[in-house]
Amino acid sequence: MSSVTAQKRSNTLVIVSTALVALWLIVAAFPFLWTLWGSFKVQADFFSKADWTHALSGTFTEEATGGSFTGRAYYGAWFQEDFWRAALNTMIVVVSVVVISLTLGTLGGYALARSGYRYAFWLLMVALVFRAMPHITLVSGYLLPFFEWNLWGHLPTAIIVLVAINQPFTLWMLHSFFLNIPKDLDESAMVDGCTRFEAFRHVIIPVMWPGVITTGLFSFLLAYNDFAVTAMLLAQENQTMVPKIASFLGSTFEEGNVMFAVASVVSATAPLFVLVLFFQRQIVSGLTAGAVKG
């Protein structure tokens, strides 16, 4: 008898929790699908003054272009407004940031994981404090010296700044991955006659790939998603995607320009979508690695 009531209660619980998850899924995913759908319409449909169902039926889109979908917004953003150049800049910045911060980070993270001294702990604490610094406060420290030394506006400047800002996080994450690798591994290699660096290079790195890839993903996200640094430190012609999108917003008074922003937002989200699709497992493991160890 009692087991039946317990069963019953858990049934309602299952329904409630499934409903909650379903609701959350709609809240999480619908905005993206809606914007993707709307980016193929004209402005009068996506921002409909009369009736929001126009966005579904595409009344004005049909009137203006003849089809119920149009690639006008994409053409305008990518070619009229040179969004392709911003995409290219983003690619350069992101790839360089990932490669450089992983190189520096693996070296540093390894040292922090293997040193038992008090200063290693303090370095990690300092890194934590550095991680908490709002990026814009650092930017306000860069601007004046960079203007004075003519470093302002160039891609390499933004790259090296992003690498540095990324370093505290990279160190923490790689450090916790290195802690999972038994000390015996590098110590036995050193007994066999390797130097510390050779042991690191030939024995540790090959087993570290999963950790390195996961950390790389997060470095990618940081560089890709950054607005504060790239918006303030890059000259107009070197702009990356996110500041470029922000600059579209200033010119939205002209009819149709909002749709350029919508199209470029969808274009900039697409790589992230693919990234999650392929690396979901690594992202989840990366988020938890920090939590379980930290």
């Binding site: 070296l107 934590l128 404090v129 306000s140 420290g141 860069y142 938890t288």
Partner: protein
């Protein structure tokens, strides 16, 4: 590891962090003590048939020369910190002595830009963080109850709000809540008010920004808690069940204590990230009714005349805020570390 080897391994990271995190902070400290040059003014007396007139003109060339020679500006001590744009000591004192009631005083304080931004930043931080924890835990418990096959896709879609660029995420929501967008229109229909606009009132803007904050951070808490749920000790749960613990008691006394360290971690990261809230304000074009500390700095730095001194002073105050926010964690970690060593 010997000190020497450690040093060479850590050197590249350390140099990068020194040059681009530590020195900028030093540079911010110095800049905050200086203020821009005033314009060089020439006063000349023009005497004509109808008497003499004094005329003041700005000597652009001399001003530019002065600015080039001393880009930092002139020394101002703590003046920038105390002026109306920052701590506004004088204005505070005046408001205190002149106000009749506390509400009156409060509304005067909220007219000062720094306190207005501080109020929003703190509200955002301390509303978003607990909500993110609760929502994240709820979703994690829900997903944990789903059949295995459905979990993967659920996690995939759940990750999107977190992974997407903050500016882009806020723009996507902003377009939907626009008076001509789908949510904005639906709300007008629901409340039967064709003039309803979420952008019009400060309160509604604050709520919108906070909802965005929860939307974009809940996945983070969810993933952490979900991973934690996978490692809940099965034997303890079983033992609790045999002892007659109800479902709620099992969650309360077994699952939640198991997740507590993870909650501390999520709280820490959330406090840090929410305190620097910045992109949503730009994405939602909310600067008229909500400003954060980071936004104040950004606002000083862009535009034709960049006010480095003012931006630096706000930066310093923000850094102090971060330090206060982090201090409990740092003290705790320090104690743990010492206990482990003993």
């Amino acid at each position: 590891m010997p000190h020497r080897t450690f040093f060479w391994f850590i050197l590249p990271s350390l140099v990068a962090m020194m040059l681009f995190i530590f020195f900028p902070i030093v540079s911010v400290v110095i800049q905050s003590l200086y203020v821009e040059h005033e314009q060089v003014v020439i006063t000349s007396e023009n005497c004509g048939p109808f008497g003499c007139q004094t005329e003041t003109t700005v000597d652009l060339e001399a001003t530019q020369e002065l600015r080039d020679a001393q880009p930092l500006g002139r020394f101002n001590g703590l003046g920038t910190y105390l002026n109306r744009g920052h701590l506004a000591v004088q204005e505070l004192g005046k408001a205190w002595s002149e106000s009749e009631s506390f509400g009156d005083f409060w509304s005067k304080v909220m007219n000062l830009p720094f306190y207005w931004a501080l109020a929003f930043t703190l509200t955002y931080t301390f509303v978003c963080t607990p909500m993110v924890l609760i929502l994240g835990l709820a979703i994690a418990l829900g997903v944990n109850g789903l059949p295995k096959l459905l979990r993967g896709p659920t996690i995939f879609f759940s990750l999107l709000p977190m992974i997407v660029t903050p500016l882009i995420g806020s723009l996507i929501l902003f377009w939907m809540i626009d008076a001509e967008g789908i949510i904005g229109k639906s709300l007008q229909y629901l409340f039967d008010d064709p003039e309803l606009s979420l952008k019009a009132s400060p309160t509604l803007t604050w709520i919108t920004l906070i909802i965005y904050g929860i939307w974009s951070s809940a996945p983070f808490a969810f993933v952490i808690f979900y991973a934690g749920l996978q490692t809940v000790p099965g034997e303890t749960l079983e033992a609790a069940m045999i002892d007659g613990a109800s479902r709620w008691e099992r969650i309360r006394y077994v699952v939640i204590p198991h997740l507590a360290p993870l909650a501390v971690f999520v709280t820490l990261i959330q406090l840090m990230d929410n305190f620097r809230v910045f992109e949503p304000i730009i994405g939602f074009s909310a600067e008229a009714s909500a400003q954060s500390l980071s936004y104040l700095i950004y606002n000083d730095l862009r535009g034709d005349i960049q006010r480095f001194g003012s931006a630096a002073a706000t930066s310093m105050l923000t850094i102090i805020g971060v330090a206060i926010l982090l201090s409990p964690v740092l003290i705790r970690t320090w104690r743990d570390f010492n206990r482990k060593r003993v």
